[in-house]
Assembly symmetry: C2
Homo-oligomer: 492 residues x 2
């Protein structure tokens, strides 16, 4: 068995646990490796403490925030073009005794900031920084190939909302804990709790957003983070019998939802997209047990996964048709950049930019002088102690509580593909309210959508990979506008 | 039922008959409409005269060709950049009494023309011109947006072979019959016979190619033309007990092969690519009879196809992720053009170019002053009298006779998608010789390939639509080189 195959045997387990990074290539392998170890330690099927809310909020967690907002104001990012909206960046302590603090980057809306909603964005991983969202996907700037200068994203989501990017949990990106043993106790449950404490304190710091309509968005493993945070918010609102956070809706894309269907959907997608052979699809379905209680891995299943591994290792599984990046260097002068044509080396430019001392200073980031670089998907977190096999019960809860629920899918992502998402939604056994139909932008089909009774809106983004706004920025902006406005895509 | 739906009910029948055009939008509808009528006239399932060769060749069909080659020499095409290879264009009479003549355009190889093989290219339809292959796909030039000037295709297949483009049958492109009733008698069988007569005469005109290794390539409905012509060649070689035409191999792409699996594969492809809903896929499989003997169309099947129609009408089904062309005009000055980035309006530029009198004169085309324009997929042919439901028996014949057989598939074509081709190959029940694996070009995965015992090589071209060389010119050139050299893609 070569190293490629071994890697994919690991991935097999990992897929069942629903862990995935958001980059490809070497970094991803690292990310997956450590999570594999976590999985072995855990040695369990379903997490039985499913969605238990850590009852975290008390006086000790809410700190005075007076004056901190102005301290967080970012005058100007190095190499940034002129803009008219305000930016903020800084830390919110979520556990004073442990010294655990989460970094955020906040961009107010281009216009109507006082009336537009507040939108939180979370990247997945687990272990991946939400600066990916900010600087490679939906934020107002992208980094030029020189790693020094920024250019505008005309399809930034802050044309539709005030957008808050959060690095979560501690150990991710610029977020940290002074108690490094915290990193070994990372997991879904504490991530939700910390994110909630972050939010309550952040709203103290930015009190003008306290009553604002609030939405949570995210992709990939944020399919866990987003619903779990929403669930925590609902729990505390109910417990306090008042609206602490004015949550109106959530939207998740190419999201980890339900391990069993996610895995089956991936296999079928890779088969129907001619990436693996139909014979391998057949073998995998025959010999692999994807159920949440599966504990063994048959030799036949392993063999089929080795074939799968050999066939996907050399493409970007997060966008199966995308060109690869063959250089880890930045350029002396910025290359001609276009928001509409995604540069496959964008992650490298972001890495260089965010590790520049002047950039970190401007962002008010890395104030404790971390011993590691800022990384898109780093390996500071060495364990992951809880990850339920499904978040479907939470989705049902939101539908029952009138929380707007949208699920989207970039249709050329092979990692959490559209088939997985459709299979997972199918598990919810919902009837159809508005039948499947195309939605349009600039006369082109932007994707397809179907609304389920309940209400749950599903929408694809045509020609988009895992990081939807990277690959289809205009369609992604149209999608988020429809979501925030609560306007369904017209049925024509 | 709206007109869209009606159109697609027609398409349903048409799909079963395996007719398809190669353009999209209005022209395609025309093309399909008349073929639907033909189908109704025919009112039959399987053609029982499957692959009967018209015994066409006798003294009367072979005409003296002395001096004609030099007359056909194209000095220079209007607006053409300088090149070092020779071009020829002209007519070969295939039926003197009827006045039926086929137009060809021939480009010799960039280098080593005396040793490189002769490669015939056929576009499909039926009813589509092989100038699509020449000016939009694999030929040495493409037409600028001004409709006047040409630019070089660095991935032209005449870097690998001497390439012969044939407009077939009479009524297509510049090919014609003075006996217009011929157009109502078009069909697979006579197309093969006429193509064969063309070839024998063309080799008289270009005798230096008589003993040259000869290959036939084509796409789409040429999945019928190519094997049927090859079969005719084999028949006459055997009958004459000598090599009249030195046929070495055939290669067909996104090819109509076997109606039943072609149709099932299309439905599954549209479902797994999130273009139609999974519910519609289920309904279609449940209620539609794709077998060659099907004569009725249930109401439920019709309804499901109406939903399908509504979902595909606004995308380019021949490249499901491609942008559309929104202008039928040419530009005053040529737009910046790139072979690597296909212009969705390319067909319009070709139309304008080929209808210019100076271009027709340079090509020695339209010498009889046709009453219609040159069209990519025209409506001169108003009927199609025979189209077998499968060409699998022919593919088996070639494998038994040592004729090289390759089948390729651009993997983002929704019309004759990769699933259809894989299902059709599966019908042949061949064992695997070399397992499914990626093939590479410039470090990127160019596609995937599998070799079957026999030998049959299947290969995908990643990120290519129905017209593979339009969308992935470099990968297409690599593919044809491997085919012509008879070198399998390496298994690494």
């Amino acid at each position: 068995m070569n190293s490629k195959s071994l890697y994919w045997i690991l991935l097999f387990f990992l897929s069942l646990s629903c862990f995935l990074a958001q980059t490809h290539g070497k970094k991803e392998r690292h990310g997956l490796d450590y999570l594999y170890k976590a999985r072995l330690k855990q040695n369990s099927g379903v997490d039985t403490s499913l969605f238990k809310v850590i009852d975290h909020i008390n006086e000790a967690n809410v700190h005075p925030q007076v004056g901190l907002k102005q301290e967080d104001r970012i005058e100007r990012l190095p190499g940034q073009p002129h803009v008219n909206f305000s930016q903020y960046g800084g830390y919110v302590t979520v556990d004073k005794s442990a010294g655990r603090a989460l970094y955020y980057y906040f961009v107010e809306a281009h216009h109507s900031k006082n009336s537009l909603p507040l939108l939180l964005w979370l990247n997945g991983g687990p272990g991946c920084s939400s600066f990916t969202g900010a600087l490679v996907e939906l934020g107002p700037f992208r980094v030029h190939s020189d790693g020094k200068t920024l250019y505008k994203n005309n399809f930034s989501w802050n044309y539709a909302a005030n957008v808050l990017f959060l690095e979560s949990p501690a150990g991710v990106g610029f977020s940290y804990s002074n108690t490094t043993s915290d990193y070994d106790k990372s997991g879904d449950s504490r991530t939700a709790a910390d994110n909630y404490v972050f939010l309550v304190n952040w709203l103290e710091r930015f009190p003008e957003y306290k009553d604002r309509d609030f939405y949570i968005s995210g992709e990939s493993y944020a399919g866990h983070y987003v619903p779990q945070l929403a669930h925590t918010i609902l729990y505390h609102n109910k417990k306090a019998n008042k609206t602490i956070i004015n949550l109106k809706g959530i939207i998740i894309g190419n999201a980890v939802i339900n391990d069993e269907t996610d895995e089956r959907g991936m296999i079928d997608y890779l088969g129907s997209h001619a990436i693996i052979s139909n014979e391998d699809v057949y073998q995998i379905h025959k010999y692999c047990d994807f159920s949440p209680n599966a504990t063994t891995l048959s030799r036949e299943c392993q063999t089929s996964y080795e074939a799968l591994a050999d066939n996907i290792i050399d493409i970007n599984i997060y966008n199966i048709y995308a060109p690869l990046c063959f250089s880890s260097n930045v350029t002396t002068r910025p290359k001609r950049a276009s928001i509409l044509e995604f540069d496959p080396c964008s992650n490298n430019y972001m890495y260089v930019y965010l590790n520049r001392p002047d950039v970190q200073e401007a962002l008010h980031a890395n104030v404790t002088k971390l011993t590691h670089d800022w990384e898109q998907c780093g390996d500071t977190i060495q364990g992951w102690i809880d990850s339920p096999s499904t978040i479907i019960p939470l989705l049902k809860e939101f539908m029952d509580n009138g929380i707007r629920l949208w699920i989207f899918s970039g249709d050329i992502d092979g990692r959490v593909p559209v088939t997985s998402t459709l299979y997972s939604i199918n598990e919810m056994k919902l009837s159809v309210k508005t039948a499947w139909h195309p939605w349009f932008l600039n006369q082109e089909v932007g994707g397809y959508t179907q609304v389920y009774k309940g209400d749950l809106t599903f929408a694809t983004v045509r020609g988009a990979g895992h990081q939807v706004p990277s690959y289809q920025p205009a369609r992604a902006l149209s999608l988020i506008k429809h979501f925030l406005n609560g306007t369904p895509f017209p049925n024509i």
